[in-house]
């Protein structure tokens, strides 16, 4: 455990708070069973990588935690909120307050500048435009792309786009950062940069849940790996991070 909150908790002799708890979560799509009773806990400050072959249920698991999809049975509790009891608006508010998401293909709005893409997440909560832009500017500064704040996604490199996406995910100071193949669409150099970024975030206390095929990303950024196979947890291992 290398992250700050986990270390602090250990130093204080306390167990870090559980941020994510999945209890016997099942998800069926017709006849197919994407998740077959997954139970999992993620504590504050952890960086957990979910790995496994295509179709094993990685993305479905991430969707359950993000409240993007609902389980067929079981419970999903994130930051003390039971997502199974929330309606669509409740889930939207949950995503807004508790989580940030980073996607493989960035999912930036092409007609907004980098700054406005980042500010958007705060503006949806009702934060005034000026205040949201100030915070967005700070985040772009921290992530090293402040000079690209007025550029539109079409002219940004892959790595820059993913940094903007990470900034947007961090805009509302989420308890949990979810990343779905965050380096999957990047070249190796840009991928390295994003890995460094995620590692840095975790080291300052940001809880991470990564879904990836990439063992390098897992070993670099995660301190625990959960292996999924056929919708079940096939194994878990703690890692000493390479970084």
């Amino acid at each position: 455990m290398t992250s700050r909150s986990v270390n602090e908790a250990a130093a204080n002799g306390a167990t870090p708070k559980v941020v994510v708890r999945l209890e016997e979560v099942r998800k069926e799509f017709g006849e197919a069973e994407a998740l077959a009773g997954v139970s999992l806990e993620i504590r504050a400050g952890e960086a957990v990588a979910v790995m496994g072959p295509s179709g094993c249920g990685k993305s479905t698991l991430l969707n359950m935690v993000a409240g993007l999809d609902r389980p067929s049975s079981g419970r999903v509790v994130v930051h003390g909120e039971d997502l199974t009891g929330l309606n669509e608006t409740g889930l939207a508010l949950f995503r807004r307050r508790r989580i940030g998401m980073v996607f493989q293909f960035f999912n930036l709005l092409d007609d907004l500048s980098a700054l406005d893409n980042v500010a958007l997440a705060a503006q949806l909560t009702g934060t005034p435009a000026r205040q949201a832009r100030r915070r967005a500017q700070e985040l772009l500064d921290e992530l090293g792309i402040a000079d690209r704040r007025n550029a539109y996604p079409a002219v940004l490199s892959g790595g820059e786009r993913q940094r903007v996406a990470v900034a947007r995910a961090l805009m509302n100071r989420p308890a949990l950062l979810l990343a779905d193949e965050p380096t999957g669409a990047l070249d190796s150099h840009a991928g390295e940069q994003v890995m460094d970024l995620l590692l840095d975030l975790n080291q300052i206390g940001q809880t991470l849940l990564l879904v990836t095929h990439d063992p390098r990303l897992a070993t670099r950024c995660a301190n625990r790996v959960v292996d999924l196979a056929d919708g079940r947890v096939a194994g878990e291992r703690s890692l000493e991070r390479a970084g």
């Binding site: 608006t89 092409d110 539109y152």
Partner: protein
């Protein structure tokens, strides 16, 4: 070809919503076009249409039965120049004992005829059956004009010429060849004294030709045998001015209907092709040739369009007849009602024009896609990003508006072409609503003035012995004071008609004279003033125009041995051009034996009209009270037709907005998924999508309202001139700030209604599926 067909079928199946929208838009648009063109067709030359439909008689001739032999009459039907003839039919004038639809008790012309069909004057038997047996009679009546229940004319027992008959049918003849028809055997009981023949001639295009045809008829029979003739041209002149008043505004609705429908169909179809660019790229990558791709897309939009067009034409035809009957209900006589029918050219225009429009609308973007490489077509499939759109979004981001609203306001700029077409449809929709609103206000004011609403509530006619009615037991002045003494009466005005001539003119005119209040005339005066004493007249605009008279002119009224100078002091809103209004003493000066023929009674507020009528009948059985008609048929027709067309056009425009939101949401699925993933609530998604159209709606309101006001200002005076109505300024200037504000909002309402359903569907989009289908 098989591959093209299969790919097109697959595309239709995959885009069920889009296919449904295309079919629906084409259906409603086609229906609108069919109804709008049908309305125009019905209102344009209705007499000619009805005349052609019924093979009307160009000359209806009445012969004295005593002066001709049947063989002589039969010979006239074979004369050179006679194209077709019907008859001879025995004809009698007999007294009807009670009202039957439009016929008052009194003398009616009855013809003995075996059936309503024939080579000339194919009578439209619209209710019941033809009179074929003894004791049966068919009365003429405009289609649809009958009461329900115990007051129905059909089935009622009447006496005609002392012979008891049962009304077994109601029919209308454009040639007005009879008031009633009985079987040839039944007519003998009515003692016919004349014979009717109905002719169509090879040459009958003008009065001169008709006069020549009539002269030939007269020459073919013994002198004095041809007692009367009626030319179809006289009938036509008598009825044409009423429907012609409706042509200008129906024309506006027709044009608006065509424009809105064409715009929306073009937008929907081209949008469907543009949104399929990515698919086009994939098809090309699979090996489809550019021509095959164009064929696939033309097929994809043509299939639902053709289905929509066929259904729309069929539904338009189904709706048109009852709709037009309803709209034109009450407008003068059977002529217009008989003209209402399905015209082949309307269906041909719809069935050929709409698919052509669809193919053209699809062809332009298809050809563009045809020229793109597979890779470019795929990348062109997402929402375009333009420089102006980016600048607008940047400015909107900095506003204090809720972010969902500011994002929505920027959306139309991403697809400027599509947004412009949608805006144009909304503008025309708002212009239609505005125009219809103004028209309704004008026509309501006109109807109220025309019917003298509020100036009296009861009309009392006197029974006339010469028509077999019970005459009143009281004299004219006694009747006026009797009516005034009954409970509830506030004021009684006697009116009558007196024929006269204007010095220097051969043609006669009629004076309508008032004894007592002339408030109903006063309400109609739009220029000058009402008459206040002897020697003053008020005239309708048609009279002033036809007789070349202006306000302030002095004229001389003449009758046999009498003359009276009068001054024209006022012009009425409308009226028969052969009638002028004056006070009793002026009419008495030219017609000393004048007596009241009708009494107009103003009742105290809250008085039961029915109870007053019963009291009148009890006081004198020779008096015939009736409640004043308060609804003006012309105004009702104008308002009803404009309302129906506005609803149809509004629905088409709203469907256009619906389609635009469907296409925008489809193209922005990924963006919507991302926005939801970062916490945009379903309500915010709905607000964003509705706001994107609300902005267009507001712009549509700002542009459409002045357009509608302008159309109203241009069309109402034209309608007035065509219908002999001089609309005064207060009836034309109907716009108030409150009404304008509401009309400005009508664009927003229209856009919101169209956007709501697809916006809510966008709000329910499954995020996980969208974001991972990259």
């Amino acid at each position: 070809m098989r591959a093209v067909w299969q790919a097109a079928r697959a595309a239709v199946r995959r885009r069920r919503l889009q296919t449904l929208v295309i079919a629906l838009v084409v259906l409603v648009s086609t229906m609108t076009i069919v109804v709008a063109l049908g309305l125009l067709d019905a209102a344009t030359a209705p007499f000619e249409r009805a005349f052609a439909r019924q093979q009307g008689a160009q000359v209806t001739a009445t012969f004295d039965a005593a002066k001709t032999r049947p063989g002589q009459l039969a010979d006239t039907t074979r004369m050179p120049g006679v194209a077709a003839a019907a008859g001879p039919f025995d004809q009698a004038v007999a007294t009807l004992d009670q009202p039957v639809t439009v016929h008052d008790p009194g003398p009616v012309t009855v013809v003995g005829r075996a059936d309503p069909a024939g080579p000339v004057d194919r009578v439209n038997l619209w209710s019941g059956h033809w009179a074929t047996g003894p004791g049966e009679v068919v009365f003429s009546s405009p289609p649809g004009l009958d009461h329900d229940g115990p007051h129905a004319a059909l089935g009622s027992r009447v006496t005609v010429g002392g012979v008891p008959l049962t009304v077994v049918g109601l029919a209308s003849s454009v040639s007005q060849s009879a008031d009633a028809w009985v079987s040839p055997s039944q007519i003998t009981a009515l003692h016919p004294t004349s014979v009717q023949l109905l002719y169509r001639f090879a040459h009958a295009d003008g009065d001169a030709e008709i006069r020549a045809d009539t002269a030939a008829l007269r020459a073919a029979v013994p002198g004095g045998a041809l007692t009367a003739t009626q030319s179809y041209l006289d009938l036509e002149r008598a009825v044409e001015h009423v429907p012609s008043a409706f042509v200008p505004f129906l024309m506006v609705f027709g044009i608006l209907g065509l424009l809105v429908s064409a715009l929306i169909v073009g937008n929907v179809v081209s949008g469907a092709v543009v949104s399929g660019f990515r698919h086009i790229g994939v098809l090309k990558a699979l090996g489809f040739t550019p021509n095959q791709v164009v064929a696939i897309y033309l097929l994809m939009v043509s299939v639902p369009a053709v289905v929509g067009c066929l259904l729309g034409t069929a539904l338009g035809d189904l709706a048109e007849q009852p709709l037009l009957q309803q709209i034109f209900h009450g407008v003068d006589g059977a002529f217009l009602a008989d003209s209402l029918g399905l015209s082949a050219w309307v269906n041909i225009v719809a069935l050929l024009g709409m698919p052509l429009l669809v193919v053209l609308a699809a062809l332009l973007p298809s050809l563009r896609a045809r020229g793109l490489s597979a890779a470019r077509a795929i990348s062109a499939g997402s929402a375009p990003r333009g420089g102006r759109a980016l600048g607008i979004q940047r400015r909107l981001s900095a506003t204090r508006l809720p972010r969902s609203v500011s994002l929505g306001l920027g959306l139309p700029f991403a697809r400027p072409g599509r947004s412009a077409l949608t805006l144009a449809a909304v503008v025309l929709g708002v212009a239609t609503v505005t125009f219809a609103n103004g028209l309704a206000a004008t026509m309501t004011a006109y109807g109220n003035a025309e019917e003298g609403n509020g100036s009296y509530q009861v009309e009392v006619d006197t029974g006339r012995a010469e028509f077999g009615m019970t005459p009143p037991t009281h004299t004219d002045p006694q009747i006026q004071s009797l009516l005034g003494s009954l409970p509830g009466a506030v004021q009684v005005t006697a009116t009558t008609y007196a024929p006269a001539r204007l010095a220097g003119h051969a043609k006669g005119l009629n004076l309508r004279a008032y004894r007592g209040s002339s408030a109903d005339v006063g309400a109609l005066v739009v220029q000058g003033r009402s008459f206040h004493g002897p020697g003053e007249i008020v005239a309708p605009p048609g009279f002033l125009e036809e007789w070349g008279v202006s306000l302030g002119d002095r004229l001389t009224l003449q009758t046999a041995g009498r003359q009276e100078p009068v001054t024209v002091v006022g012009e009425t809103l409308s009226g028969d051009p052969d009638y002028v209004f004056t006070d009793w003493s002026t009419a008495l000066a030219v017609s000393p034996t004048l007596t009241g023929r009708q009494y107009l009674v103003r009742l105290a507020s809250g008085t039961d009209v029915g109870a007053y009528g019963r009291a009148v009948r009890a006081a004198d059985p020779g008096l015939r009270p009736s409640a004043k008609v308060t609804v003006n048929a012309g105004a009702t027709t104008a308002i009803a037709s404009s309302t129906i067309l506005t609803l149809l056009l509004g629905a088409v425009a709203a469907l256009g907005v619906f389609n635009t939101v469907v296409l925008n949401a489809r193209e922005r699925r990924r963006d919507l998924g991302m926005l939801k993933s970062i916490g945009m609530t379903p309500r915010q998604v709905t607000v964003m999508m509705v706001a994107s159209m609300g902005a267009l709606g507001l712009a549509g309101g700002l542009l459409g309202v002045p357009l509608g006001v302008l159309a109203h200002a241009l069309v109402v005076p034209i309608t007035g001139r065509a219908g002999g109505i001089a609309f005064p300024a207060p009836m034309v200037e109907v716009w108030h700030p409150g009404a304008i504000a509401l009309l400005l909002l009508s664009g927003v309402v229209l856009a919101t209604l169209g956007a709501l359903i697809p916006s809510r569907a966008a709000a329910r989009l499954t995020i996980a599926q969208v974001l991972h289908n990259e």
